[in-house]
């Protein structure tokens, strides 16, 4: 079964908007409902849309291979933990909000009480939001891709024993009947 041209074109046109909307949710996590997880999930739906429109194999050839999503995910987590460890260096407290109210990046002072909201506030919270957004996007896309890939390619039986393959004794597989 092939998927028609209309679906493919519509999907391709929609995906950038989905990505931008997801980015907006991630970036405004400290002001409006949303945040890294929700935004990352929205971005991952864009990837899911591509997967639905195109065959997963085509996706991996045309767009990016699945292992790079794992690297994206690792990168997000490393950004998170490095931000946390930077708190350890700057203020001697793990996960300390060392950017808040410093005047630097995301360091504007907040108007207390009810206010319209300023994007450049909240210190490390937006940074962590971005880290989590990247991580969730990578994680959900990778899970989807792996599940698609795992549907067809059967895993072979050769990995059944607990020992290196060449050490299996006289072709005996071990294991139970």
């Amino acid at each position: 079964m092939t998927i028609g041209l209309i679906v493919k074109t519509t999907g391709r046109l929609l995906v950038p908007f989905i990505f931008i909307f997801g980015f907006y949710i991630v970036a405004h996590g400290h002001l409006t409902p949303g945040g890294g997880f929700q935004g990352g999930a929205v971005i991952a739906t864009g990837v899911a849309l591509i997967l639905v429109c195109y065959h997963y194999r085509e996706c991996m050839e045309k767009f990016i291979p699945v292992s790079s999503f794992k690297l994206v995910e690792s990168a997000g987590l490393i950004l998170f933990i490095c931000t946390a460890l930077a708190g350890l260096v700057v203020a001697s407290g793990f996960l300390f909000n060392w950017l808040n109210a410093t005047g630097g990046l995301f360091g504007n002072a907040v108007a207390y009480g009810i206010n319209p909201g300023d994007l450049y506030t909240a210190g490390i919270i937006p940074v962590l939001n971005f880290a989590i957004g990247i991580e969730v996007f990578g994680a959900l896309s990778a899970v989807l891709m792996f599940m698609f890939a795992g549907l067809k390619e059967t895993t072979s039986e050769e990995d059944d024993a607990e020992l290196p393959i060449e050490n299996i004794h006289k072709g005996k597989k071990g294991g139970r009947k």
């Binding site: 400290h30 945040g35 794992k70 909000n97 919270i125 969730v136």
Partner: protein
């Protein structure tokens, strides 16, 4: 699973399920909806999230600042799921 089918006969399982449901009904008598019994920690978060973290969204302030360590753990759980999936669907040959 095995434990589902054969440890419990269906009748025993139904009795068990009804019993457990009744136990879970008890909180409905002990708690009141709409009026939490104590609010000291949450009121502190609402009052101080802007001064301490600079975030307008109190939930985000709780998730990423006051309880940021939980978020690290939760991201780790997602990471584990991806690693597990990748490991289960790995190729055998190098």
């Amino acid at each position: 699973m095995k434990e589902a089918g054969s440890i419990f006969q269906p009748k025993v399982a139904i009795v068990l399920i009804v019993l457990v449901t009744l136990i879970f009904l008890l909180p409905a008598f002990g708690l009141t909806f709409g009026a939490p019994a104590a609010t000291m920690t949450d009121q502190y978060y609402i009052d101080n999230s802007q001064t301490e973290t600079g975030a307008n969204n109190v939930v985000t302030a709780v998730v990423f600042d006051f309880r940021g360590f939980d978020t690290l753990g939760e991201a780790t759980v997602l990471f584990i799921a991806v690693l597990g999936v990748a490991m289960i669907f790995r190729r055998n040959h190098k």
